[in-house]
Amino acid sequence: MVGGDLAAQMSPLNSFQGLIFALQQYWAHYGCVILQPYDMEMGAATSHPATMLRALGRRPWKAAYVQPSRRPKDARYGKNPNRLQHYYQYQVILKPSPPDLQNLYLKSLEVLGLDLMLHDIRFVEDDWENPTFGSWGLGWEVWCDGMEVSQFTYFQQVCGIDCNPVSGELTYGLERLAMYLQGVDNVYQLNFNGGEEEDKVTYGDVFLQAEEEYSRHNFIYADTDMLFRSFEIAVGACKFYLESGKSDIRHELVQPAYDQCIKASHIFNLLDARDVISVTERRNYILRIRELSGLCGEAWLTTEIGSF
């Protein structure tokens, strides 16, 4: 691989990592801070505090990052061609949403190598909602020749609080997009590094074993006693931090408290995948997390950054 053609190797049409690099460059050029993934397990890139908390308050904010997303229920033992319990989202958040956001997005597709006179790009109504975090927005899923490649949302409420100004959020489903760009039908066949022949590393080489192991874990072995206890611990800690961080003017422990919401939410998703939560209980769990995330959101608005 040493001494290969770097441009070809890093083309989004040839490699998964090339796709990520191209997006990083595009949005860096636009002026976003390029962040790294948040170091916690979460169901979607939206839960990253760089989106969920930064979407609140008046301070402008432009950020982009890759976030691994965990969906325990979507585990398929590596057998499904495009469903994964761990996958990557590329997240862009722009606050306030700029007037030319749709065009910015379309240009990013062109940068990735999609010819907009060859492919049918469509904005199809899809309203986004995350009841666990009391958040919702209106927007679309973006279709490329009938395949959903991104979510496009104007946040209206986050943590139960009205967004003002409104953030625009773009979420690229990286594997889907890469499959489209590389012309591959099975996610595990994606070329990860853009190498050829023996230098080629596939998505399967990197993740297939993990998908198999986590499928067993999510559906059979995940220790539910431990998880039930962990849920309560996270909830308890969140409340404790929310209480302890209170001061006369500013809240001083919002992010540690919010981390516990992220944790509780992931534990809940695992318990849900293990099928040990009944429908009634399900609602209660969601309401408990929603209440805490709402309190985090309110506390955030009293912080240095949030109260701007």
């Binding site: 010819d115 907009l116 109504e125 927007g139 104007y154 409104v166």
Partner: protein, 681 residues
């Protein structure tokens, strides 16, 4: 007269909202103009995914002059009141006001002046931003740093006014940092990315067509429909028509380009409903049918928003790939599902909560199975088959396929039941027990299906009533109104002799809910509201079919001469009784004894009542209301003769009471047939 042109250009509007929004826009502009004294003639109405367009022609240049009158304070009012009046009426001195004489309340001032009509442009530039600010979107949003709510971000506003054939000028206003202009934009991808300047009314439509925008949704629908049929027949197939999908898809494109793709015929082993739902719901594509075999063809029709440079090869390839993946998912689900006997799935229903306070789906199946037996017995449906169908009715809820496509519930149950050797009518009932799914969906026709559909809906209603979860106002999360209407339609359309009260566990409150729904249903069927009221007997009947028959008979009766005459006679009876009962503060029972009747007219009336009573009762018992009413009508000449020859309110109190009781008997006999006193006119 001048024309008016308004185009609201915004990011993609959900397909389902486009046409209703353009109608709202039309209504609000026309109402707003007419409130301001401007009547317009014809209008053009268009919508696409990115714009709402309204064109009005024949809008007057200015509103007509108006005479405005403002009433002021009394002439002796304190000076503060007078000066306030001067200010509000825009007068400089009080002698500009007139004095109106009023002997009772005192003389007062009136300001009268002629207000010249405002210019249409001025009216519009105030009206349009107001209207945008409070536009009735079902669901709307904010964006950026603004506060305006619109369905998706509003990007530009073209707003022009002027005489046709001459240059139109911009109606100036600004909203949310968008200034109205004479600028619009063409197709997002196909038109060059330069603004389009509009000067003439008619040019607008041409200019946009040149910029690859077909403004009229009906034209887009026709184009799609025509092209799709053409492509289908070129392959020897026919399009499976789908109005809902056509409507939706035509709102997703500004320039429809219809293309055809194919999928492997291996997929055709799964039921056609599954293929169609997969391709329709997830991909918004049409399917084709082989006209000879009647089966689906391995092709689909897609509608693209661009005419791709390569003629569509890439777009088709992309869709084919996604559809193949979707269908292989569906095939996988189908094969997995087929491995498990439908019957054995009921155990899984123990883990599926129907409602937290109403137990599991398993318990619901048990309830439905019990209920279906009593209903089947009453409507002569096969008991064994009905029970079997009930037992299997919810088993498909835990199949993979229904998990993926909830809209296939019932359909999959039927497919799996048939494939696993259940009797045809059992399988049929599993699918049909969800019917009618809406007000226009036909009711089931086979007795087993009807019995099961009734049992399902009656269980829903009684169960939710038992925990107090009843519809309130616009909230009806469990679709109980629809369920009740379904029951009503089945009973009426299939003429079921099924009194409701025993079937709803004697619940009076639920019965009155049913009767309210029945009233609404009958009104929608075109029956007069007072006839409906008259058909609902005060004692509260739970046999809906009887009510329907009564209202039909009334509808016929009141349109005959005899009917009208009877109603008039009966009205006199009612009036005289009401007055006497009010005076005496008591009510009169029916006269059953001939003794005491002195005059021929009253004796004749009594005898006639005696004569018709037995037959009348028989007719009523059989719900034969037409002959019953004809029979009542025969009382009318006797009543009239009675009123001509007999004085009711005589001084002899005993005689008066006898006569009133005779009339009370007329009343009570009539009320057995219908509550005629509720009929108006």
């Amino acid at each position: 007269m001048p024309d008016f042109l308004l185009e609201l250009f915004c990011e993609e509007i959900p397909s389902s909202m486009q046409e209703s929004a353009s109608h709202d826009l039309q209504r609000l502009v026309i109402e707003g103009l007419s409130d301001a004294g401007l009547k317009s003639n014809a209008s053009v109405l268009c919508s696409t995914a990115c714009r709402l367009t309204l064109g009005l022609s024949g809008v007057p240049e200015k509103a007509e002059d108006r005479f405005v009158e403002r009433r002021g304070p009394r002439v002796d009012a304190p000076s503060k009141a007078i000066s306030g009046f001067l200010e509000s009426a825009a007068l400089s001195a009080i002698d500009q006001a007139e004095i109106v004489r009023d002997g009772k309340k005192g003389d007062f001032y009136v300001a009268r002046r002629e207000e010249s009509g405002r210019q249409a442009v001025d009216i519009l530039s105030a009206l349009i931003p107001d209207l945008l600010d409070s536009f009735p979107w079902k669901k709307s949003m904010r964006w950026g740093s603004g506060s305006l709510r619109w369905v998706r971000p509003l990007r530009s506003i073209l707003c022009l006014f002027g005489h046709s054939g001459s240059k139109m000028r911009v109606v100036p206003f600004e909203i949310e940092a968008i200034a109205s202009s004479n600028i619009t934009y063409g197709h997002r991808f196909m038109a060059p990315a330069v603004p389009i300047e509009v000067t003439y009314f008619n040019h607008y439509f041409v200019q946009l067509k040149e910029a690859y925008v077909i403004l009229d949704p009906a034209v887009r629908r026709e184009t799609i429909s025509r092209e799709a049929r053409k492509l289908a027949s070129a392959q020897g197939f026919e399009l499976v028509e789908d109005e809902g999908l056509l409507q939706e898809v035509s709102g997703l494109v500004e320039w429809p380009v219809v293309l055809m793709g194919r999928f492997s015929s291996d997929f055709l082993t799964v039921p056609p409903e599954v293929i169609r739902t997969t391709i329709r719901a997830k991909q918004k594509c049409f399917v084709l049918r082989d006209p000879v075999l009647g089966t689906l063809a391995p092709f689909f029709i897609l509608v693209s928003n661009i005419f791709p440079r390569d003629g569509g090869a890439e777009v088709i390839k992309g869709h084919e790939r996604v559809i193949a993946a979707r269908l292989s998912d569906a095939c996988f689900f189908y094969e997995q599902d087929m491995k498990i006997a439908l019957e054995s799935r009921n155990e899984q229903l123990r883990a599926v909560v129907f409602h937290e306070r109403l137990g599991t789906q398993y318990e619901r199946v048990e309830r439905i199975a019990t209920r279906v037996r009593s209903i089947a017995a009453r409507i002569s449906a096969d008991l064994g088959m009905a029970s079997r169908a009930a037992w299997l009715s919810k088993a498909d809820l835990v199949t993979e396929m229904v998990g993926e496509f909830p809209e296939l519930q019932g359909v999959m149950g039927r497919c799996y039941a048939e494939a696993q050797g259940e009797a045809h009518s059992v399988a049929r009932a599993i699918e049909d027990h969800y019917r009618p799914r809406g007000p226009r969906d036909p009711v089931p026709d086979e007795p087993i299906s009807i019995a099961l559909a009734l049992a399902d809906k009656l269980d829903m209603l009684t169960a939710f009533w038992s925990i107090g979860e009843t519809p309130t106002g616009r909230k009806d999360p469990y679709g109980l109104r629809r369920a009740a209407l379904g029951v009503i339609r089945m009973i009426l359309d299939r003429e079921l002799d099924l009194p409701l009260l025993p079937e709803i566990d004697g619940n009076k409150d639920l019965l009155s809910f049913f009767l309210d729904r029945l009233k609404v249903h009958l009104r929608e069927q075109g029956f007069r509201h007072d006839l409906i009221d008259a058909a609902f007997m005060p004692q509260g009947h739970s046999d809906l079919l009887v009510i329907l028959r009564r209202v039909k008979a009334l509808d016929e009766f009141v349109n005959t001469g005899e009917g009208c005459a009877f109603l008039a006679s009966l009205k006199r009876v009612g009036n005289i009784l009401r007055a006497a009962e009010k005076q005496d503060n008591s009510s009169f029972g029916s006269l059953l004894d001939f003794v005491g009747l002195e005059l021929q007219a009253e004796q004749d009336l009594f005898r006639h009542l005696d004569r018709i009573s037995p037959d009348l009762d028989t007719h009523i018992a059989r719900s034969d209301f037409v002959p019953a009413m004809v029979m009542l009508a025969s009382l009318s000449p006797l009543i009239d003769v009675f009123f001509e020859g007999v004085v009711v309110n005589v001084n002899d109190m005993a005689l008066r009471e006898t006569r009133l009781k005779l009339l009370a008997r007329v009343r009570s006999v009539s009320l057995k047939v219908a509550d005629f006193f509720r009929i108006e006119g």
